[in-house]
């Protein structure tokens, strides 16, 4: 890492640390039972979100899945609105209607995350298609897990993206598990996921998802290529989750997962890896880290205060979104029954 990387990597470190601290705060406060919705934490997987998010503009789109906090934040999503959403408050990023699994911040292009495995995948491809049709010079990112690629809709969507050469980036965080089911019970492990995607016709690459230094520049290049040459691109990131699939508890239980596996990954924690490197190179001091933490903690406290102090949605609004009203008077007025003539060829 050269000196020129100093600012860049300190910034990346800050962002990863921030996501880590937000999620740890959620984990810690979850037992208060005020966040009453299924919540999937990405602790251990922060580097991927940040590496990708850093290369995006607000005009780019992103969609994600049940485990979306990191993607939302890395794309620039509003923190207070995230926390308020998990609290079920009207000030949440989805007005409290969505919860942790349904995040959206349209001001920064984070379109949506949803709770059904892989079902934002075609939606993301559609968004990317819309960008092409509208000649918007932008890309769409689709964040998925290793299980999402097992759904047929992933394959159908990628086939369509390849057919139309759409500027869409698939980011697959392979954390080796779907809930508690290890990869080898779901996929032939002699067939890497990124190679599968390549076989379907995407440009594809794999990365160490925990060592941001090792992959950041290549990710940047890929995204540039996507903008200039079109896509789709499929990136597989090898990474690991520390918490239980859903909820705040730790899941590094040697009965459920192989000891060597846990030890391997714990030694390669993405935040620690980068921190050590930055300390080693004296790009960062312990004091600076402390000040980062303090600053972030203040932001987090504010976000939680905001969430706690916000109002719940009104019960009177429970039918508010049954349908979107729309007035078609304009259509009525432009239709002129007398003037239309249909010619049959």
């Amino acid at each position: 890492m050269e000196n020129t990387g100093k600012v860049k990597y300190k910034n990346l470190f800050y962002k990863m640390l921030r996501i880590r601290m937000v999620e740890e705060e959620i984990a810690q406060r979850y037992s208060q039972k005020k966040m009453r919705c299924p919540t999937h934490l990405s602790i251990g997987q922060e580097a991927v979100a940040v590496a990708v998010g850093e290369n995006l503009f607000a005009t780019d789109f992103a969609v994600s899945s049940h485990r979306a906090h990191a993607h939302y934040l890395a794309k620039g999503g509003n923190l207070s609105a995230l926390i308020a959403e998990i609290y079920g408050k009207a000030t949440g990023c989805a007005g409290g209607y969505g919860g942790s699994m349904h995040l959206s911040d349209l001001t920064v292009g984070f379109v949506a995350s949803t709770a059904i495995v892989a079902n934002t995948v075609p939606l993301g491809v559609g968004l990317s298609f819309s960008q092409v049709l509208k000649k918007q010079n932008a890309i769409t990112c689709i964040f998925i897990g290793d299980a999402a690629i097992e759904e047929g809709v992933f394959y159908e969507s990628l086939n369509f993206a390849v057919l139309k050469k759409l500027p869409v980036l698939f980011i697959c965080e392979n954390n080796l598990y779907s809930v508690n089911t290890p990869l080898h019970l779901r996929q032939p492990i002699e067939r890497p996921i990124f190679k599968l995607a390549h076989g379907i016709g995407a440009k594809a690459e794999q990365f160490d998802g925990n060592d941001i230094v090792s992959m950041f520049d290549t990710v940047s290049k890929v995204i540039k290529d996507l903008r200039n040459q079109g896509g789709p691109w499929f990136l597989e990131f090898h990474t690991y989750r520390y918490k239980v699939h859903c909820g705040p508890e730790d899941d590094l239980n040697y009965n459920a997962r192989p000891k060597e596996e846990i030890d391997y990954w714990l030694a390669r924690d993405p935040v620690s890896l980068l921190q050590s490197k930055l300390l080693e190179l004296s790009f960062l001091s312990l004091k600076e880290i402390d000040s980062y933490k303090q600053k972030i903690q203040e932001e987090i406290n504010k976000a939680f205060d905001f969430a706690e102090n916000s109002l719940f949605p009104s019960i009177n609004d429970k039918y508010k979104f049954q349908y979107i009203d729309n007035n078609l008077e304009w259509l009525h007025s432009v239709l002129n029954p007398q003037k239309e003539v249909y010619t049959i060829e």
Binding site: A94, Y97, L123, Q322, I324, Q338, I344, E345
Partner: protein, 351 residues
Amino acid sequence: MSNIKFINLVNAALKKAMQLDKSVLCYGLGMNDPTRIFGASEGLVEEFGEERVFDMPTSENAMTGVGIGLAINGFRPVFSHARLDFILLAMDQIINNAAKWNTMFAGAMSVPITIRLLVGRGWGQGPTHCQSLQANFAHIPGLKVVMPSFPEDVYGLLLSSIFDNNPVIFIEHRWLHNIVCDTNPYDFVPLGKARTVVNGSDITVVSMSYMTIEALHAIKFLQERGVNCDLIDLRTVKPIDWETIYKSINRTGKLLVLDTGFEFCSIASEIISKVSMDCFNNLNIAPRRLAMPDVSVPTSYILANSLYTYSENIASEICKMLKVDIDTQPLKNKRDNFPRDTPGDWFEGPF
């Protein structure tokens, strides 16, 4: 004007929508092939180009999601399927995404997609090419379900569906496609409003889609014999125009519901149950329904024919309900002039 068929008016509505608004897109299997989905997409690609009118891979599920993505970013896609049965592959996208998007994100985004589904019938369509599953869509909050019956309505209904901001399931019965229009068909038709096709005070008949055509035959036949029915064509089966139905019931006190779908948990069930709950005191005999019985439809036309409701069955049912004695044999004979597994002479394919 008298040559214009239902399917031509579908085509005209698509054209009109695309002319009115550049955000309208049309896609589906065979969209631009020589047969143009029975003529529905005739001339579209020539006028609007391949960016707005396109064919696709046989990937119903993903292509529904693609439509939703397009809709979220400002387009109004119209997605057409030659058979309703194929869309069962896309129920996750329709139910878990399209139908819920508006609520799930508290109104921040709308999904103005229209999904055209054609219901097959006859000529040995077989169990998986003839399902009229409007009830499965109508059961889901957030969807609108439209089922035109008359060429006079289809143009207006399709335009209102395309420009509605909610996802709309637009179900066309294949046996309607060749029906010729005999009044001006280019008027605005709002969603959610039924049409009273015939006025009468003896009984209320509520119907939809192709069943309305059969009903009309039956009701005209009965009219000539002194029985006067109110015939309400739903046009939109979700949401339902309860007001029109209730008003009629409160006059007639009698209800027969016709449904193109399977009877169990059907639109007909919903109507009969709502009327029984809300107009109980004005009903003076037991309501009835005629719908597809609870069994898969076999391919052999001999078996299939026996499961469908024809005009003579409707007339008989009405007579039974009204306790009048009218011989419905003439209706039966008239129908037997052409094969019962076709709507007329034109139906030997394309299917």
